[in-house]
Symmetry: C2
Subunit: 436 residues, 2 copies
Amino acid sequence: MYSKKIQSQLDKKKIDTGDTITVRAKDRIYEGFLMPKPHFGNPDILVIKLSSGYNIGIIPDSIELVATTGSRFDEPSEPEKPKKGDISILGCGGTIASKVEYRTGAVYPSIKPKELRAAFPELSDWPIHSRQIFSLFSDDMNSYHWKIIADEIEEEIKAGSSGVVLMHGTDTMSYTASAISFMLQQLPVPVVFVGSQRSSDRPSSENKMNLVNAVFSASQDIGEVTVCMHADSNDELCHLHRATRVRKMHTSRRDAFRSINSDPIAKVDYRALLFQPLSDYRKRHKQLISKKKFNENVAIIYVHPNMKPDLISRLSDYDGVVLAGTGLGHVPVGAFGAKHVKGILEPIKQLIDSGIPVVMSSQCITGRLCMRVYANGRLLKDTGVIGDDADWTPEVAFTKLSWVLGQTKKMEEIKRLMETDIAGEISSKSPIGGEQ
Amino acid sequence: MYSKKIQSQLDKKKIDTGDTITVRAKDRIYEGFLMPKPHFGNPDILVIKLSSGYNIGIIPDSIELVATTGSRFDEPSEPEKPKKGDISILGCGGTIASKVEYRTGAVYPSIKPKELRAAFPELSDWPIHSRQIFSLFSDDMNSYHWKIIADEIEEEIKAGSSGVVLMHGTDTMSYTASAISFMLQQLPVPVVFVGSQRSSDRPSSENKMNLVNAVFSASQDIGEVTVCMHADSNDELCHLHRATRVRKMHTSRRDAFRSINSDPIAKVDYRALLFQPLSDYRKRHKQLISKKKFNENVAIIYVHPNMKPDLISRLSDYDGVVLAGTGLGHVPVGAFGAKHVKGILEPIKQLIDSGIPVVMSSQCITGRLCMRVYANGRLLKDTGVIGDDADWTPEVAFTKLSWVLGQTKKMEEIKRLMETDIAGEISSKSPIGGEQ
């Protein structure tokens, strides 16, 4: 918030963030968008974005409103129920629904989903309706929001929706989508997460391609949670990925999303009405199973040289721990006469002995875990670390453990559920297209 | 150690781990290799590996020695100095120097490097000598061992070595190799790390291919630290990677090692005497610069949803922190009206304000960081998080920060060194073969 002095002037003239204003200061006049007060800094300095794109800070003598902003971020959207058979598009934020961020000069999620129908005429091929659930940077998203998203998907299905598309930021999309895979099982309709690596104001924006292919995928006979993103760097094809298999593997490329240890579910192109399966997937189920409870007290720990044992022993107030180990699932152990090694086997054993499950994953990202090949791995397995033979990503090991801990507190049952394939997160076959 | 009762019998008959023994127990006789006492369990139970491959535990009535083991793990190797022009092969352990582990029934590093000359006649094309520095699982390796490795490399160079090959486990090879890149700059000879994904007893073992190509690479005009590993799943070619660019990207494939955000340095095949450069590299320098001090008090923290702020604030006793953030370099912030988000910006700010550098990297692994695109990223950058625009892996951000903190304690100088390319870890160009 700006200082009272400034805020009262703004309130008096009904000026809000994003409005175009003129500011008089020391006999000069500046025109631009009103920016919100920066996180840090003097609240008496008003910040506006000039037409040059630069922000300036001014101690204002007077402020005048020139024009209000068309769409305001905080304006509530009108919820609406789908007509039977509609494909529902639910907005959760992210670049796919962004325009140039007038607030800080960067990109900020702001377009409401219902505006998309006007923006993308291609969507008129399907009966759709849309509404905004919330608008968040996906890096801010957590299990509180996963629960809301699962509730909203369930509500759409109950109201007659024939498929649900979720617009979501790309940063944590694989976390959210895999979390929903565990919460909502035996889906009667496809649930398709979609995002965009480039904001809609940039010429290379791929959000139309991704969004329309997501809606097209949501019209198919699929009973799984999926992610629809560019298959390559051309605006030609999308891949539909299983939510428990996909991972963002590049910070900025349009084809950043890749299926890990599996082929994508399908190659998709709405323009050619192409839906070409690349691997097996589950069809629409009759009866949804909904198990939405999560435990939010779980940490991912990245294993590395010089790791101090107390990085693990400090976790005694957690309910579960996922290790992103090295190689086939290893950590510094320091057994077998190894000198000058601060092993973390002992603190791991203490966690497990006190009832805190410890689950292995690999920082290699691809490939299957095997804690039986090397002596150090065997010690981990003997200590009770869960995950031998799994081929999940660290992210999915994390969402699964968080979900399992929402279902049971018994170590035996935790272990059993972790080792049972629930949503395609553990494959029994060799990874396609690669030696193991 | 076994119990006194058992150990005294073993000592009396000069029996050591790995020796073939017969054990009498309750009128039955068992023959097999003596195993070390398992980490946990009754020290009165002797463990032997039967010829079937299975281990059994026995309370012995009597024990007899049948045959001693040819090579003992703990036997000291004879150090030797290289003749001028020799290529030095130094053993640090790892699968490349392993045979079937007689100790626990798994694989355990044990072959001494000097045995390699007999095992790989192809090496006779080059003047080599070899010695064991130590034998460790690479998951146990840390900056104590990096220092020893750097000392030994320097010693070899001073004694006239024309190239140094290091046999090393694959799990943390990219940590060690990148660490050596910062410690030993302007190398007068190539330093080549080499490992093997499969143990030498398995038919698909690729250790010969990797080792001989590493020696061949060490004979080239290169003044950098590199990693030589399989280029694909056939036993045909190796890639020579820059140490600050390479990462183990699969738990078990022979071609697990990939250059990240860059092409490999070269395609290598000793049989065809092929050394085909794929990108620029530095030639042999005149004068080695040696800066070997490390700070071992640095942590890598994996950013994830539901991350609790105290996972960061607990790090106030560390000297540096590397974040493996999401996307372009993000963390949960919870600014701009986001609700139900436990942001970690504040604890990050507290670390930085108290003089602890915080460095960004991306869990996407590939791609360049950019904290200027989104409002949340801007807040991180404004808070003083280091790494905007860098294209390093989390591992290299970690080894670099650990090394920089060994050179200086001044925040300004830490920031300057982190932002300066020292060993090819920050590229100013777009990644080859990909859009940014």
